[in-house]
């Protein structure tokens, strides 16, 4: 199997160990996209972004040009770049911030100019010391060379970019929690409506929140054209995107792919991508789009990385993180691990998330440790129902004839953390009920070793 090489858009400089320095960045086309942007009217940049079909890479997949067009007509207004990356399995934004920080800054500047922002904030995850240093140094250099600050590149346009960093909380990644955090508060997701920070965001002023990878794509689009970007990929996965592949594959890593042109099988097995499952093992399950995405299985390897067909299979491409689990993996423990994560990261505002997550974690832990009861299986589903009522999305099963329930779910909570705790439990229990039962009947984990 071979995959046609993808165009390198956001990852073009990844092979260059000096790409984070301003000299290397400028020597490799850096800040040319901004120069181009400053010769255009803001409306034309928005039009080019809409034409590029670029969608958000933070997880929700919202069309970027459209998001910008929703900005309320008020000033001051802000641009916030979401660099809080902490969705389990996702490790692309950190790489972009560490190795190509100027590209993030340039993308943020293009966004700011296009939406007429009055200040830009780069919100970097607290635990990422190197990313903070690299972006900090890049800002110092960019200010010194006139790419940031007053009268940028002699254009007469001025903007400041502020580096901000967090202090450890997954829920900060949720955009309204991010804004609360940036206001110096606890990261409590805001009650919707207002649905979009574009209407009411930072300090309740119009705000655009975009992901690191999303803004990193803009310099290329400006140097080429929206149409040229849209011509890459296919279906609803146009352009390129970075897929983070981890787990039991031979070549874990970040891969920039024209997602619409490849399948999960390509991504996981192609020698130039994931390289296949480690020797002597076969695939058992995989997370297709970050820990919040319902799992897929061997039956679904031939799905194209396109949001449409993936949603029909009950899941999403989310943050682009694929975690591959082979036949050595205990499904109860793997699912428990993610349930524990989401319940631990609950901010506590909504009872179903705060209490339900905790209960699911406890019940799964006792099943894993051989102290579960048969009633626990229905109890788990029942707790799941209080967080996310109705039929919960899951994949089809060829062997049993189970049909897929399409994405998305309904929810009783303010944000997606609550339902995300249901996801791994429901995925594992729907597909591997027998494995749960075996734990209970045997009074211990039948898989044993967990590595």
């Amino acid at each position: 199997m071979s995959v046609t090489a993808s165009q390198s858009v956001v990852f073009a400089r990844m092979g260059d160990p000096e790409a984070h320095t301003i000299d290397r960045y400028v020597a490799t086309g850096g800040y040319e996209g901004l120069r181009r942007a400053l010769s255009m009217k803001p409306e034309d940049i928005e039009a080019a972004t809409t034409a590029s079909t670029l969608t958000g890479r933070g997880g929700a997949g919202f069309a970027t040009g459209q998001k910008w067009s929703l900005l309320a007509d008020a000033y001051p207004r802000y641009v916030v770049v979401n660099g809080d990356e902490s969705e389990p399995g996702t490790f692309k934004d950190r790489q972009l911030m560490e190795r190509d920080p100027h590209q993030v800054i340039e993308g943020a500047l293009i966004t700011a100019y296009a939406v007429r922002a009055t200040r830009v904030f780069l919100y970097v995850r607290g635990e990422m010391a190197l990313a903070q240093e690299r972006i900090g140094q890049a800002l110092v250099d960019a200010y010194a060379k006139g790419y940031v600050g007053s009268n940028i590149m002699g254009s007469g346009w001025s903007i400041d970019v502020v580096l901000h960093w967090g202090a450890g909380a997954y829920v900060v990644g949720e955009e309204t929690a991010l804004l609360e955090s940036l206001e110096g508060k606890r990261a409590f997701p805001r009650i919707k409506p207002p649905f979009y920070p574009a209407a009411k965001g930072l300090y309740y002023q119009p705000t655009i929140v975009n992901n690191v990878e999303t803004v990193s794509t803009l310099p290329w689009i400006l140097r080429h054209s929206g149409e040229e970007y849209a011509a890459l990929g296919a279906g609803r996965s146009t352009g390129t995107r970075i897929m983070c592949v981890s787990g039991h594959v031979k070549n874990p890593g970040n891969y920039e792919v024209e997602a619409g042109n490849i399948t999960f099988r390509d991504l996981i097995y192609a020698p130039e991508l994931g390289g296949g499952i480690r020797d002597g093992h076969t695939i058992k399950a995989f997370v297709p789009g970050g820990g919040s995405a319902p799992w897929l299985f061997e039956d679904h390897l031939d799905l194209t990385l396109d949001p449409g067909p993936v949603a029909a299979e009950g899941t999403m491409l989310g943050s682009g993180a694929v975690v591959v689990m082979d036949d050595s993996t205990c499904m109860v423990r793997a699912a428990w691990n993610l349930v524990r994560f989401y319940s631990h990261e609950s901010c506590g505002q909504c009872t179903p998330c705060r209490e339900g997550g905790n209960w699911m974690e406890k019940i799964m832990w006792r099943i894993e440790n051989g102290a579960g009861r048969m009633e626990d299986l229905d109890l788990l589903l029942d707790v799941g129902q209080t967080i996310s009522p109705g039929s919960f999305p899951h994949a089809s099963n060829k062997a049993t004839g189970l049909e897929a329930t399409p994405w998305p779910y309904r929810m009783t909570t303010i944000c997606f953390v609550g339902p995300s705790a249901v996801v791994p439990m429901h995925s594992a229990l729907t597909r591997f009920r027998d494995e749960f039962v075996a734990h209970i009947e045997q009074g211990s984990c039948p898989v044993g070793a967990h590595a």
Binding site: S86, E127, A167, G247
Partner: protein, 201 residues
Amino acid sequence: MARLNAQNVERAKAVIRRYPRERSATIPLLHLAQEQDGYITPEAMEHIGELVGATAAEVQGVATFYEMFKHEPVGTYLIGVCTNLSCMILGAEQVLEHTEKVLGIKAGSTTVDGMFTIEEMQCLAACGGAPCLQVNYRYFENVTDERVDGIVDALRNGRDPEGQSIPPHGTLSNITLPAPTTPADRERPEEIHPAPQGVES
């Protein structure tokens, strides 16, 4: 020591100037306090409240929400082992167990000499290098028991583990960021092109 010292008050004021509203500086200032004292003291929270115009209780609410802020002394070296999914299925539980054995403490506690604290971390965005750990938020990927031994040994003997320098816990702000050049309360950016027809300028 507990309130920010004179030098850190100057740094704090420079941080506050970057934001349109003072209170936005709360988290960076808490990092500053932690850099000064190693953890967050009640006096520091009160002082930060004075600086950003919040009550001590509001600052405390923030300081206790985020996991990087410590409320009692922690080790010089904070060893954070990721045990989230990608790391777990590639041996993170073994790495954690080994680290606990080598240091003679459990995750969540500190060695009696005050040198090491072990923490269990959630996904650190290094899943491609699983299993991974951090020492004072500096990454070590694809770790093994042997590498844990080497890292601990280097730190105990004052050497940089694997050639990576590890600043003391709390040091996150060693770059002096540029001061803003535009007013914080600026209403609109400059229009550098004539406004297109039909759009009010």
